[in-house]
Symmetry: C2
Subunit: 178 residues, 2 copies
DNA sequence: TGAATCATGTAATAGGTTACATGATTCT
DNA sequence: AGAATCATGTAACCTATTACATGATTCA
């Protein structure tokens, strides 16, 4: 995951490890670790796999700074990841990954692919909401009140996500028309 | 995290590794791995640390089955974890952990502690919503549309959580009155 | 009896966490 | 000159993933 987050950020803008650390530490991308022990080894791995390469950009100062940018292979790998089909497990347990993909998507795959992604997302989400609703309507009398409420919180979260999806799809469709 | 999830489940009901695997594989607790390579080593670690011990329960059949239950130390460890103060990082990046704690809470710490937890949760969440709102209102023109929408999705998710929290608090307060 | 499921494990690998370490540059 | 921050790395440890392995019990 960290690797793909880095690929997505580097596609938008070539950056150094330090800059990536600041993004992870100071923006809402904080679910990723900003520790050097995570970032630098991840950059090395991506470099070994030829998905990124040191950018020729010397930067404004002479300061030591190794900026990386995507190679062609890196772009391909990022696109493949973004295009992977969505399954129920993604929706149930990895909404954050789907949202990360989405955040990188229209700059990488374009608007039409993004709309297709959102539609698939919506389909899978509705299907999962149905499953979860059925579960919640089952016999939960053995459960503590807090466990039941926690379940309800999860369901409400998915419903909020569904509402947002409808809005996002409408936004993109409006945009394509223009 | 997996360790605490196991402690919470075992406190509610002594279980074998296989039963835990089924819970993780077939219920909304699916964010935890149900692979034997995760569960059994985790159980061994908890046993080594004397937080769980083999239950004397031989089970209804003769079938080989190692059920575990919490030791006193295990109960203490679980309670300490549940009682740890909530900080902004938890709310921003580990909502799932907070909800896991909550799910285990009223059976372990009781209703009053649960209400206190929910109030603290609400306070931290509101504070983080304010931070995030300010961020969203900043200059986002450099961002792709999809990134902006992803941010909005996050914010809406937190708002849904806040609404749920108010409801959960009201539910518990009603309950304590009775 | 054979298939399915119950049930528990191990080994290799990969990746993250925490803590430590180092030096350059900027700012006061 | 000294503090803060820029900037990159390493090492030890822990844990999850993936795949493999094994045997018991139940059921058709």
């Amino acid at each position: 995951m960290l690797g793909y987050a880095i690929l997505g950020l580097l596609r938008a803008k070539p950056s150094s490890g330090y800059e990536l650390r600041k993004i992870f530490g100071e923006t809402p991308m904080g679910s990723f670790s900003d520790s050097p022990g995570a970032i630098y080894p991840a950059l090395l791995r991506l470099e070994d796999r030829k998905l990124i390469a040191a950018s020729p950009d010397a930067g404004p100062t002479q300061r030591r700074r190794k900026a990386f940018q995507l190679t062609r292979g890196g772009v391909v790998a990022l696109k493949e990841w973004l295009r992977a089909p969505i399954n129920e497990t993604d929706v149930a347990n990895r909404l954050n990954v789907l949202m990360l993909k989405f955040a990188f998507m229209d700059g990488t795959l374009g608007e039409r692919a993004t709309i297709a992604f959102l539609r698939e997302f919506e389909r899978e989400l509705n299907s999962y909401v149905a499953v979860l609703t059925k579960y919640v309507q089952g016999d939960l009398t053995h459960m503590a009140m807090s466990s039941r409420l926690a379940l309800q919180s999860g369901l409400l979260g998915y419903l909020a996500q569904a509402k947002w999806l409808a809005h996002a799809i409408a936004t993109y469709e409006e945009r394509v028309k223009l």
